[in-house]
């Protein structure tokens, strides 16, 4: 039963207890922040001393792909898991394109898609020297992919065979590189110093594709689920499944 106070999960005393708890936690955290030492240089000094062997010139990229590469590997795994999760939660709604795209969208797509791909490649490349890299490039590419899915001009992105491959290739290449470097150098993700820059670029390129594909997948899965089914067949299958589920 939903309670009469609608939006809230608790009665008034419960809300007060929650408020006091959160305020206490915020106070403790705020006090901790207030008393933090003003300068902490150990970590950044360590990183700037190790920059020459990282293979790149941008410290953030060096941390992401080299010093803490394990984080990034797991993160791409999380992204892939989320995409698979969205697919399995909303499978009936994913493989569908809009039948009548807006002409403005189609024009926008034609004008912008080449630039989006170009900018994405540029951001990926510049990550070696300046702010940029696989995640930013992947996000830009995903924007292009979402535009493509929304406009759907004679091209059904979510039904294409390349999508699953693109979604998985980032994790695959990252894992292959990690295992190969373990064979050669002895440690998981320990790049040989001379090859580090090249390896990072290869991993980042694959990761860019995967991030873009997974983000598009997440968007398509979440987006079409709220739309009414386009064709009659789809809705029949859906209701059939639902009946089975209820029984």
């Amino acid at each position: 039963m939903i309670r009469k106070n609608g939006n809230h999960l608790f009665s008034r005393p419960g809300q007060s207890i929650a408020a006091i708890g959160v305020l206490t936690l915020t106070g403790i955290l705020g006090w901790t922040v207030w008393t933090l030492p003003p300068f902490s240089d150990q970590m950044s000094a360590l990183i700037s001393s190790k920059m020459p062997i990282s293979g790149v010139d941008n410290p953030v990229t060096a941390v992401l792909l080299n010093f803490r590469g394990y984080d990034t590997l797991l993160e791409i795994g999380v992204l892939l898991l989320a995409a698979v999760g969205v697919l399995s939660v909303a499978p009936s709604a994913v493989m569908r394109a809009d039948s009548s795209p807006s002409p403005i969208l189609v024009l926008l797509l034609r004008l912008m898609l080449p630039f989006i791909i170009l900018v994405s490649g540029y951001i990926l490349w510049i990550g070696k020297y300046a702010p940029g890299g696989a995640f930013q490039a992947g996000a830009v590419l995903a924007a292009g992919g979402i535009l493509l899915v929304t406009a759907a001009v004679r091209f059904n992105l979510s039904a294409s065979k390349a999508m699953p491959l693109a979604t998985g290739i980032g994790l695959l290449i990252f894992l292959i590189m990690a295992l190969a470097t373990m064979m050669v150098c002895g440690n998981f993700l320990q790049y040989p110093v001379t090859l580090a820059g090249t390896l990072i670029l290869v991993i980042e390129a694959a990761a860019t594709l995967s991030i873009a594909a997974a983000l598009v997948r997440l968007f398509v899965g979440v987006k079409s689920d709220t739309d009414p089914p386009a064709s009659g067949e789809d809705s029949k299958i859906l209701t059939f499944e639902e009946e089975n589920l209820i029984k």
């Binding site: 039963m1 939903i2 309670r3 939006n7 809230h8 999960l9 608790f10 809300q15 929650a18 408020a19 959160v22 305020l23 936690l25 915020t26 955290l29 705020g30 922040v33 207030w34 933090l36 030492p37 003003p38 300068f39 902490s40 240089d41 970590m43 950044s44 990183i47 700037s48 410290p59 953030v60 060096a62 941390v63 992401l64 803490r68 984080d71 990034t72 993160e75 999380v78 992204l79 898991l81 989320a82 995409a83 999760g85 969205v86 939660v89 909303a90 890299g133 995640f135 991030i211 997974a214 983000l215 997440l218 968007f219 899965g221 979440v222 689920d225 709220t226 639902e242 589920l245």
Partner: protein, 102 residues
């Protein structure tokens, strides 16, 4: 008082606001939004804390952590939204119910 500490405190306040809404509201969409607000608070804190170096450059480690965190937050939000949509589809209601006897 220097500038980073201002942003850090705003981050802590955002975290508190998000946590409170996460506990209080019963609608799943509000809970997902609340998680995102508290996540934004954590990111704001980390990015501001990276400025606590004596040199001109900020500490790259928190920046990398935030970059990782944003991607994970987006994935988790999308999955949570898909689950909430599915719950709405199956049960006709996206609100948590109170199981206490009236």
């Amino acid at each position: 008082m220097n500038i980073p500490i201002l942003y850090e405190l705003v981050g802590v306040i955002l975290l508190g606001m998000g946590l409170y809404s996460l506990v209080i509201y019963s609608h799943l969409f509000r809970k997902i939004l609340a998680l995102n607000v508290s996540g934004a608070g954590v990111f704001l804190f980390l990015v501001a804390a990276a400025d606590r170096t004596s040199g001109p450059l900020p500490d790259p480690v928190p920046h990398a952590m935030v970059l990782t965190g944003i991607v994970v937050a987006v994935s988790a939000t999308a999955l949570a939204l898909a689950l909430a949509c599915r719950i709405h589809q199956v049960s006709g209601n996206a609100q948590l119910t109170d199981n206490k006897p009236e």
